[in-house]
Amino acid sequence: NAGVTQTPKFRVLKTGQSMTLLCAQDMNHEYMYWYRQDPGMGLRLIHYSVGEGTTAKGEVPDGYNVSRLKKQNFLLGLESAAPSQTSVYFCASRPVWGADQPQHFGDGTRLSIL
C-alpha cells in the first residue's frame, strides 16, 4: 500500500528553469494539497484540490500552478524557478467523507534553486 508518492525526491534547478512535481495517491481520496516547508515557517499551503478538475489557491500560491486532471494525481508546476522557491515540498491527501479525517502526507521533494 503506497499511500502518497511524490516524484522526484530531490531536484536541483537553475533560476528560470521550469519543472513539475508529481503527487500520486492510491487511496481514492478526493482532497489533495501541496505545502512547502521552510525553516521557522512550518507547513504553508500552496494550492489544494477538492476533486478531479478543480483547484484552489492556498496561503502562498504565487509562482506556482497546479493541475488535477486525474483523481489520483496532483501536479505542482514552477514555470520560472526562483531561489525563493528553494524548499521542501509536501503533498497530502484526505477523503471527503468525515470532515475530521486527517491528511496523509508523502515523504517530500527537496528542491534547490541555484
Partner: protein, 113 residues
C-alpha cells in the same frame, strides 16, 4: 500572519519523563485541532486530534488538552521514549470548510535515553 504558533522550537526530555508540547492559535473559529509527528526525510504522520467540543483526548501515551478560552492546546507524552524524538506540528482547521489546515512551525523533541 501565523494563525497557529508553536513558540518552543525545541525541547529535551529524559526517557520516562513527561513531554509537554504547546501550541497557540489566534482564530477563535477553529474547531478541530491535530498533532502530527515528523521524522527526518519523511512526511508528517497523524498522531492525535481533538474537537473543540472536548477539552481532552487520550490515545495511549498521548493526550491532547484544549483550552478554548486561552486559545491554547498542548500535547502530553507519558512516558517519553527515545523513539518519540521527532518534530511535532500542531494544526487547526474549520470543520465546515474542511479545506485548509493551518500548521504551526513545529517543535523538535529529543528524548534522552
Amino acid at each position: 500572519d501565523q494563525q497557529v504558533k508553536q513558540n518552543s522550537p525545541s525541547l529535551s526530555v529524559q526517557e520516562g519523563r513527561i513531554s509537554i508540547l504547546n501550541c497557540d492559535y489566534t482564530n477563535s473559529m477553529f474547531d478541530y485541532f491535530l498533532w502530527y509527528k515528523k521524522y527526518p526525510a519523511e512526511g508528517p504522520t497523524f498522531l492525535i486530534s481533538i474537537s473543540s467540543i472536548k477539552d481532552k483526548n487520550e490515545d495511549g501515551r498521548f493526550t491532547v488538552f484544549l483550552n478554548k478560552s486561552a486559545k491554547h492546546l498542548s500535547l502530553h507524552i507519558v512516558p517519553s521514549q527515545p523513539g518519540d524524538s521527532a518534530v511535532y506540528f500542531c494544526a487547526a482547521t474549520l470543520l465546515n470548510t474542511g479545506n485548509q489546515f493551518y500548521f504551526g512551525t513545529g517543535t523538535s523533541l529529543t528524548v534522552i535515553p
